[in-house]
Subunit: 228 residues, 2 copies
Amino acid sequence: MRRDSMSKLMMKKQEILDAFYFRHATKEYDANKKISEEDFHLILEAGRLSPSSYGLEPWKFLIVQSPEFRERLAKIASGAEVKLKGASHFIIILARVDMRYDSEYIINHMKTIRKMPDNMIEMVLKGFKEFQETKWKMLDNERTLFDWASKQTYIALANMMTAAAQMGIDSTPIEGFHFDDVHALLESEGLLENGTYKPSVMAAFGYRKEDPQRPKTRKTLNEIVQWI
Amino acid sequence: MRRDSMSKLMMKKQEILDAFYFRHATKEYDANKKISEEDFHLILEAGRLSPSSYGLEPWKFLIVQSPEFRERLAKIASGAEVKLKGASHFIIILARVDMRYDSEYIINHMKTIRKMPDNMIEMVLKGFKEFQETKWKMLDNERTLFDWASKQTYIALANMMTAAAQMGIDSTPIEGFHFDDVHALLESEGLLENGTYKPSVMAAFGYRKEDPQRPKTRKTLNEIVQWI
């Protein structure tokens, strides 16, 4: 490899690492700084292109920009209150409820989005049934099935925050809201498509008002990695 | 902004997007191509530096490199079988079980890793109790609490795969294994620290044997995004 392309590669690796250090759970956002349309589009693409179990994309992204709706949300989602004031963009990630192997959504998704031929769908569904029923016992109750769909949304969440950080954009993942209250608000506004979705997790995006007061803390690699 | 730094920024954005297109669930790996130590270290760093609820890092990464152990795992984890043969590195991500707000782990983590003063811990734990008990009702059963810890590991999973893709390294996320069987194998080998951890998800890393046979399929942004 030529020396200049090698140093370019090293720079790129350093940039990847830098972005993970740059990212922190931003407490307060500068309300005067807005993410450009182009940059936010890339953040959404990072979510959209994320992998999910069986490629089922069991998610939807509500982008909460209306000041009125943000105020209503802030009243019932205490963990999001400060972020909702200054964040350039605010996303509620929803996860699907109808994720049983034989649901209409799943069969339709395999047909129309994944373009699988019928005999392939039949084969995949057989394995999928075993996966949900036997391997993971996730059909025992609705919560467990929803949590599995919700896990997939955390992949999209992570990729959106990482893409943002690589562009110098701050973010905050938010689980700290009262699930039932947020669920009720979204349902009353017809945002859950008649019970198809439930709120999974939220994320604010924008530009920090100030640098974090406390340094990033993490265990060392030695504490979390074991080689077998 | 000067023209050359602007075009550098545009190139960087294109590279971010390209990596999300490059990544796909790799079916089979080229057993002759190994990830360099430096690159794999960066993948682990992407996992280590990932955010998690309350910064609790409820994860551990088992790197399965021993051919003997890979064979034993392949026998009980059908979804991982082909990947275990050729993947340069194979990770089993574990999630913690002891994630109740008042667990010894959590209090100790806040003290020694996050370096919180005692009065701050007291305050945080009060909110944390409400978060788990009232806001998300995740203490109702053990599975729900574990699934919440498991969700956090999907953030680390996503960041590891994305960092890999940005370095031209392929990966495969793997949920398709029999949970009880893998749990039993890991426990019998003393890898779960006396019930502290359970398997959450797996991931193979390496270099593809061939390009994907089917193009990446995804819904359009219009289908998954709603502006409020």
